[in-house]
Amino acid sequence: MPILEGQGVTKNFGGLAAVSNVDFHVDQGEIAGLIGPNGAGKTTLFNLISAAHPLSSGVIRFKGEKLNGLKPHQICRMGVARTFQEIKLFGNMPVLQNVLVGAFFGTPTRISAADAAREANQALEFVGMSAMAATLVQDLTLVNQKRVEVARALATRPELLLLDELMAGLNATEISEAMELVTRIRDKGITIFMVEHVMKAIMGICERVMVLHHGEKIAEGTPQEIVTNKEVIEIYLGEETRAAS
């Protein structure tokens, strides 16, 4: 059953169709991937789901409910959390406070301070950042900043987590750890929709992959089907990936 579903999703920036007439769905409990060349509209699609931008046309449904017209904070409270391609942490707060913001405001019902603190600490522990709870976020390394972003999103108690290029800029070890983290999040029962360029991660953990190009969906299928798809190879992957896989 799809937890997230889009029909005819379109976004025009002036004359440019950043996303045009895309149908997509994410099933409950899966790890779905979204790939495509730079400028294909992947982040725009995430921005449409999380209501950073309004749709030009089309409809997006989360658990059967229309998201059109809602504000970002309402989307979050419904159970859709996200991280950002460029880190967007609260630079004026330590790590724990960053996560606390998610815990305090991300749920539909009012949460007590004690519950919020417990939620935030659990989220930090889950991503392995408990030891750095009091550190200022700008003093963290890139991988740790990304972990805090994930913890902050988890603290909002989402059912669906949108990960925008979580692996970008990480080294091989860190990518493996991040893959393991994403799998553990899914095992908690949280559905994952991830934009990623790191094909190793896509191949390793995604159950289904969609490919965007010039704002249009050009392919969809299992990772195996995608890496052998002729059009995808031509546009995005190149011959080497085919040889390697």
Binding site: S50, A52, C76, K88, M93, V101
Partner: protein
Amino acid sequence: MDITVFKSKKLVVVGLVLLILIWLATSPLYASSSNIRLLSTILMYIILAVSWAMFSGPTGYMSLAPAAFFGVGIYTAAFLYARGSPLLPLPAVIVAACAISFVIALLVGLVTLRLKGIYFAIFSFGLIVLLGLIVQYWENQIIGRRGQHVVAESTETVFYVMLAILVATLLVAYFLRRSRWGMAMLSIGGNEEAAAHMGVNTTMVKVFTFAISATFMGAVGAIMATRWIYVDPSTAFNPMYSFMPVLMAVFGGMGQLYGPVLGAAVFAYLERMLRHEFPAYYMIVFGVILIIVVLFLPGGLVGLIPKLRDRLRGVIAKLRKGGQAEQHANT
């Protein structure tokens, strides 16, 4: 151990605040009338600085609107507390000034708080000019009389009302800082987009905080009108009442609640003293002091305290070490 230290520190702070308040409240009994007037002016600046920092400090939205709401308060008093025909008693006038400032700030905030950075600063400055011009037009074209006379209140009444507004401002500022509302404001200052995606209703938080801070600015304007007795658009909507609170809050440091309080108190007193001592050069001396603070104390006066404390601790530790070494040598 840590908790008891924390608790006793808190008690000391509460005690200190109470002592200052008692000293302020009893000061009309023994201080001269001119000193009470000076104290009222200082309190006015503290209220303006604290209420400005309430919104602009955590959110990072640089508002130059204090003078606009200060002016709204002044003209509320001019309407409702006109000499010869006051429509309401003084407390009701103050409450009305609060309410009108709140509503105007709410409406203005809804329209303009989507502006970011310098654009919001310029707009909020424009608000002073706009409201001033509207009142001026009303006076010139509709009632045909420039300036309004307000019922005169005694120095003591002005002082006590000011003190009451100050206590209310400080209480609200304190609880806003400590509450989840304060955390929401801070997250907006940290990264507004991320705050919205983490469930913070950024529009509501910004607009309401802006309106709450305007409430105190309006209140303080209304009581000042009863001291000035005669007000006109150029004195009521004077941009200096925006610049001064901002300078004072920065001067004091915005990291702590008492930063703007300290900044406004020292700043207002310094201004008065320098003007008295060096009437010809006071602006130069004042300017030099400001430049020194901005250059060497980025955290404001408040930022100086941990620095001094660390240095003091260093000296004490050194002395102790020296003492121990001596003891060792003796044994």
